[in-house]
């Protein structure tokens, strides 16, 4: 390892790399809805929803160390807030997004009350109960007039019509529209916007003074308390925010599929586990971890979706999976999880950092640069 690449943090090379990465992401985002197949757009939209859900969980578990197995319930709150508001009260689907956000925030705050006193396994159990109760609550006969019980609700999305506007830019239309034929890119962009929003909220929280206090709580809550961090308020707000952000992909799911039932996969505890596994595989405690995890997860699921038929499995791996009667996507992902925990306990993002560190040295900024004070005192020194 003699030929190491040395990059100064905040230097020109570092900015060039960032700009190139940003350009690549934007190009990819434009390529998918305009050139990609319908099924690719669908896959990416689903991945975006899983990203948002896993990111919201990451804010809670990755940064404050509070485990939640109840995020499927917050996802479900998003699903049902939208579904009920659209079908029962005739709201426009988009208006329901901030409402779902608010409802889930309040529920999250309430759930955080017991979470303030317990941690670890006990908190996992309390939130697991929430995840288990949610589908049962939706099916509760006394609120069937609202939720329609286990039959679920229909027509929870947009009403397509030829009269809906399009959003062309000089004849070029990467956005899709709501007229019925070109609707997939539209959902894709809603998903992307949602991920960007959730990312910015997480980033805003994590990179701030509050973010430091979150890691402080996770690492040593007593030391954080004697530093003056108000544990109760901080934990409560983060729990609420996390729940609220998990409701957004739920809302989009209701809008996109147009029907909701209380037993669909992501509304049950299986959904919580999915979010958790995506987060861990991607890399918990890192902002990009859930993004990577969701992409890998969804592509494995899609790619292996028809492997229940042995003839569809590529020859090289056929002996490995041909015994299975069902699509082995979940199993493959589970194996990937086990391997990753062994070789890269910090997930895909951690693995990436490890590999990059082998060839690149990032020189951190010297202590106390970029401060106003230093600039003020600099002339006096020279």
């Amino acid at each position: 390892m003699s030929a190491r690449i040395i990059i100064k943090s905040g230097g020109r090379a570092s900015w060039a790399i960032r700009a190139a990465a940003a350009a690549a992401v934007v190009a990819l985002l434009l390529w998918i809805p305009t050139r990609g197949s319908d099924s690719l757009i669908d896959t990416c939209t689903t991945a975006a929803m899983l990203m948002a859900a896993a990111m919201s969980l990451n804010l809670l578990l990755g940064y404050t160390g509070q485990i939640s197995l109840g995020h499927s319930a917050f996802f479900g709150i998003g699903v049902y807030t939208t579904a009920i508001a659209v079908t029962r009260w005739g709201w426009s689907p988009f208006v329901t997004l901030p409402v779902a956000f608010a409802v889930a925030f309040v529920v999250g705050l309430l759930v955080s009350l017991p979470a303030l006193r317990i941690k670890g396994v006990y908190l996992a159990l309390v939130t697991l109960a929430l995840g288990l109760v949610f589908p049962a609550f939706i099916k509760w006969p006394k609120i069937e007039w609202l939720t329609n019980g286990s039959r679920g609700l229909d027509q929870t999305g947009f009403k397509f019509s030829k009269d809906n506007p399009t959003y062309e830019l000089f004849g070029w239309n990467p956005w899709g529209n709501l007229r019925g034929q070109n609707v997939k890119p539209f959902y894709f962009w809603v998903g992307v916007l949602m991920v960007v929003f959730v990312y910015l909220v997480c980033r805003g929280v994590v990179k701030s003074r509050v973010g430091r206090s979150l890691v402080a709580i996770r690492d040593n809550s007593t030391a954080a308390a004697v530093m003056g961090v108000n544990l109760a308020v901080t934990k409560g707000i983060v729990f609420g925010l996390s729940a609220a952000m998990c409701a957004l992909p739920g809302s989009l799911s209701a809008i996109r599929t147009g029907t909701v039932t209380p037993d669909s996969a992501l509304l049950t505890v299986a959904g919580s586990i999915t979010f958790l596994v995506i987060m861990v595989v991607g890399g918990s405690g890192s902002l990009w971890g859930p993004v990577m995890g969701a992409i890998v997860y969804q592509f494995i699921i899609e790619r292996t979706g028809d492997w229940s038929d042995p003839d569809k499995i590529p020859g090289a791996v056929r002996p490995l999976f041909s015994w299975s009667d069902v699509a082995p996507g979940g199993g493959i992902f589970a194996m990937a999880l086990i391997l990753l925990m062994f070789f890269a306990p910090f997930g895909i993002v951690g693995l990436w950092h490890k590999l990059v560190a082998k060839v690149v040295t990032v020189v951190p900024k010297p202590a106390g640069t970029t401060s106003l004070v230093r600039e003020e005192t600099a002339p006096a020194e020279s």
Partner: protein
């Protein structure tokens, strides 16, 4: 002038009472050392003053009763604690650990940054390692970091909970020199609890002896050192 005064301070964990009425005083500019064996209630005293556990009795700071105040209000008032076993945040960088110490401050980021640079001058080893994870520091460096972090809240009174724990005698000595210097140059008052009587008594303005939740003796280091029974029973030299 009295900075901190407790009267009949009691505290415990559930049904177990650890402190059975502690009366201590820290005057401005003093280094007060509280000595005691394991289980005497040293850490509990610290935690009770910091407000992170339930407590009864009177705690007065700058003439105001603070026994009902929340931990963040107490930090804001100017009491910072260096918790036992260092309690640095291993996943945060050294600099971010120190910024976390400034959590309660409401002044500008620039003045927090100025303080950061000031303490980096006092603790050059921390400056060298400012971007490293705190978990990668040695025990002595972590203890320095815990002190520097506490200083970031601009305290008037520093509570040090067994800073010598798990450190080599030489490092402990260096650490105590730093505390003495902070006391002399910055006018910082210090309440320090220790098992290491020998070293701690050298720099103490006054000493309290704590045994099973009670103060059993107090006075200047010289006075306690001169009393043969106390010296043999509690100080071990």
């Amino acid at each position: 002038m009295t900075l901190l005064r407790t009267q009949g301070l009691t505290a415990g964990y559930g049904p177990l009472t650890v402190l059975e009425g502690i009366d201590i005083e820290v005057n401005e500019g003093e280094i007060v050392v509280m000595l005691g064996a394991n289980g005497a209630g040293k850490t509990t005293t610290m935690r009770a003053i910091s407000g992170v556990m339930p407590r009864q009795g009177i705690i007065e700071y700058e003439g105001r009763a603070i026994q009902k105040a929340s931990p963040d209000a107490i930090v804001r008032g100017g009491i910072a604690q260096v918790p036992q076993g260092r309690g640095t945040f291993p996943e945060l960088s050294v600099a971010d650990n120190m910024r976390a110490g400034a959590y309660v401050r409401r002044d500008s980021a620039a003045s927090v940054q100025a303080d950061l640079e000031k303490w980096f001058e006092v603790f050059p080893r921390l400056a060298e390692r400012h971007a490293q994870r705190a978990g990668s520091l040695s025990g002595g460096e972590q203890q320095m970091l815990a002190i520097a972090r506490a200083l970031m809240s601009r305290p008037k009174l520093l509570l040090c909970d067994e800073p010598s724990m798990g450190l080599a005698p030489l490092i402990t000595q260096e650490l105590f020199h730093v505390i003495e210097r902070l006391n002399r140059d910055e006018g910082l008052s210090v309440l320090l609890v220790e098992q290491n009587a020998n070293l701690a008594m050298h720099m103490a303005s006054r000493v309290y002896l704590l045994e099973t939740g009670r103060i059993v003796a107090s006075g200047s280091a010289a006075e306690l050192g001169a009393d043969d029974t106390i010296r043999k029973a509690y100080l071990g030299f």
